[in-house]
């Protein structure tokens, strides 16, 4: 029996379009715009100047602060500007703009590390820190911070999240099939510094090929007694951290707590592969897999993209638009965000570029709540989205807090099921923002 959590929804998957497409390398961008803050936490400080010639993998920015990540040059070329540029999140963020000069040489700081077995715990943490690796599932939380839980927390289980419950996206699926060895190496690299007893790769049961591929890779490992695949029921949001832990370990992350409180650390498949790459080749995080899909895209694909490539170039490489796009979403349809312009760059958090056709989009005006409680039934965090929405609409943020607004994971299930089309997640996000601002 596949494991799962209570609540959740079953949206249509729409994965067929890009499921069978092998990962192919996207052309390097002519001009790469690399924001210095692509992660949660403090922005990196620029280490380069306008006019400098940079090589692939050269650090562009770093920060001394704990919750932060380094940023590296994804192409070789000349820095033509360091100025605030528009990012997919809509804000203007200080970015390094590199003009490609076709140089394929890597920076001398990029060199392979000794054998994985010889690396110490601190070495691994240092490599992950230096490679600027952040969670590639979409939240972009610095991985190094995750791997250093408070000393009183014992980590028993490392979960590699290959659920990919968001409709449309197939980037993690392709990685599981094409690079299972790297996923396993990444998992081992995370297990070592945290002293975890068990490594689990979680995959939904709608991806049998991925399950077979990973199982095969595990069997081929020399010592695989502490590694296993967990098959999960296909349901949204199965890949959400807390729901994943609940489904696999039956342990529940306490309100306001971290996965480390229940002895777990969850990392995305992409993150594991990025760690494996950094350990084997020394190459920092300068590229990622992006699924370009949706009803308006002629040839949906899974591309290996250099960070900083504008969305528009990727869409061109996927055959362009079939129809005039009305909305461009970064990420999946449920948790993704609409981007303000097609010229924004791919950042570390870009798991997909989704351009739905007009037919796929729903443009309904929100109406008053009809008290059907569908949102309450499906909320995977056992919250009351209907009341949270009311509280937010009436600026009663004190009520939002007592209803547990800060426990909302913003998965979008409530908005999806609401027959009155209320903007429930948006309202909850608003009160969360208000509560965090007042803190």
């Amino acid at each position: 029996m596949s494991k799962t959590f209570p609540g959740g929804i079953h949206p249509s998957e729409h994965k067929k379009r890009s499921k069978k497409e092998q990962i192919r390398k996207a052309a390097d961008p002519k001009i790469a715009v690399i924001p210095l803050c692509q992660h949660i936490g403090t922005p990196a400080e620029p280490l380069v100047n306008v006019g400098d010639i940079v090589k692939i993998g050269q650090p562009l920015g770093d920060s001394e602060r704990y919750v932060s990540a380094a940023v590296h040059a994804s192409i070789g070329g000349k820095i033509i500007a360091i100025e605030p540029r528009l990012t997919p999140f809509g804000a203007k963020v200080l970015s390094v703009v590199i003009e490609n000069n076709g140089d394929q040489d890597v920076h001398p700081s990029v060199r392979p590390y000794p054998n994985f077995k010889d690396l110490s715990k601190t070495d691994i943490r240092k490599i992950i820190r230096g490679a600027g690796i952040v969670g590639l599932g979409g939240a972009a939380f610095p991985t190094r911070v995750k791997l250093q839980p408070p000393p009183d927390k014992v980590i028993k289980t490392i979960i590699i999240n290959g659920a990919e419950c968001e409709p449309y996206l197939t980037c993690d699926y392709r990685l599981l099939i094409e690079q299972p060895k790297k996923v396993i190496l990444g998992l081992k690299a995370i297990m070592k510094p945290t002293d975890a007893l068990e490594g689990i790769i979680a995959i939904e049961d709608n991806k049998p090929e991925a399950i077979t591929a990973i199982q095969k890779a595990i069997d081929e490992e020399v010592s695989h007694h502490n590694l296993r695949v967990a098959v999960l029921k296909t349901k949204y949001p199965q890949g959400a951290e807390k729901q994943l832990i609940k489904a696999i370990t039956k342990r529940e992350v306490p309100s306001g707590g971290l996965p480390a409180d229940v002895h777990c650390i969850v990392n995305n498949v992409g993150t594991a592969v990025a760690i494996a790459k950094a350990l084997t080749t020394g190459m920092p995080l300068i590229e990622r897999i992006v699924t370009v899909t949706g009803g308006s895209i002629s040839e949906p694909s899974n591309l290996l993209v250099r960070i900083g490539t504008p969305f528009s170039e990727l869409v061109e490489q996927c055959g362009g638009f079939l129809e005039e796009p009305t909305k461009i979403i970064m990420g999946g349809p449920l948790m993704g965000i609409s981007v303000p312009s097609i010229d924004v760059p791919v950042i570390k958090a870009t798991s997909g570029i989704l351009v739905p056709s007009k037919k796929e989009l729903d443009d309904l005006e929100p109406e008053p709540c009809i008290r059907c409680a569908k949102c309450v039934d499906s909320c995977p965090q056992y919250l009351l989205p209907n009341l949270l929405g009311d509280a937010s609409e009436n600026d009663r943020f004190d009520l939002s807090k007592s209803y547990g607004a800060l426990d909302c994971i913003e998965c979008g299930v409530c908005s999806y099921v609401c027959p009155a089309k209320r903007n429930l997640v948006q309202l909850i996000k608003l009160s969360k923002n208000e509560l965090l601002r007042k803190k």
């Binding site: 999140f89 809509g90 804000a91 981007v339 443009d363 309202l427």
Partner: protein, 269 residues
């Protein structure tokens, strides 16, 4: 009625009267022992204050302000809304020399465009409040300091001083505004500020962008040309950052700046 019945009536009446008397005595004693001495001036001052509990003085209610005045924590002219008359009444109640009332303030939205005029980056669909729109990708306007036009300020105004139609720039009615500052807190873009009420001419723009950029998305945005600074006969205008500031003490409302402003950003309200 026989004697026994009369006795019952008499004893019960006496007993009740006795209990009543005892209880009354107890209450009288308690009210004497536990009495709280309230300064009669507090009541008097609270009555002369406007009673709208707007909070502009920094106290949660007019009564709290009255208490603060009597306790000497606040000046008798703390109420801006009341003006001359209230200050006079409060001074009389306190038995102090009359002092001048504080200058009245006025909330001003420093944007002349709003979503009607400003270019949009994208079409916003979602919750129709400014706060929610601001959270979605940093607002749908090209301008990062333009009014989003969903009227969060009008919704919180306790005096109906802000007139608002969806998708348009709200208007603040000078006569009704008490400068309580609720709209300032409600505006997610922080473009509402308090100005002295005697000021008549305002620069209606809060942009931090360069002039060339502003021209691209807004017809009435300040481009920082400084012509108003040069042409003002009273030298009342100075540049602060990218936006000119008008000194209300010097401004004589000659309206020269309004005529010379190439983008018509300066307006008389």
């Amino acid at each position: 009625m026989n004697a026994a019945q009369i006795t019952i009536v008499v004893t019960s009446v006496l007993a009740l009267a006795g209990i009543g008397f005892l209880a009354g005595f107890g209450l009288a004693l308690a009210s004497h022992i536990f009495s709280v001495k309230v300064d009669p001036r507090i009541e008097q001052i609270a009555e002369s204050l406007p009673g709208s509990n707007c909070g502009a003085c920094g106290y949660p209610s007019c009564f709290a302000a009255a208490e603060a005045i009597v306790a000497g924590k606040a000046e008798p002219n703390v109420c801006k809304l009341g003006g001359e008359q209230t200050t006079k009444l409060v001074c009389n109640a306190m038995g102090v020399k009359e002092i001048a009332a504080q200058e009245k303030d006025l909330a001003v939205i420093a944007c002349g465009a709003g979503p009607e005029i400003c270019n949009k980056r994208f079409e916003y669909q979602g919750e129709k409040t400014c706060a929610a729109a601001e959270l979605s990708g940093g607002g749908f306007l090209e301008c990062s300091a333009g009014c989003l036009g969903y009227g969060d300020c009008a919704a919180v105004c306790p005096f109906d001083a802000i007139v608002y139609e969806e998708g348009k720039l709200p208007k603040i009615i000078r006569e009704k505004c008490t400068a309580c500052g609720k709209c300032i807190d409600a505006c997610p873009r922080k473009i509402i500020s308090l100005k002295p009420a005697k000021q008549k001419v305002f620069v209606l723009c809060s942009t931090t962008d360069k002039g060339a950029q502003v021209r691209k998305y807004c017809k009435v945005g300040c481009i920082g040309c400084r012509i108003c600074v040069k042409k003002c006969p009273e030298a009342a205008i100075t540049m602060e950052g990218r936006i000119p500031q008008i000194n209300p003490d010097k401004c004589k409302v000659t309206e020269v700046c309004i005529q010379v402003c190439p983008t018509k950003t300066i307006k008389k309200l």
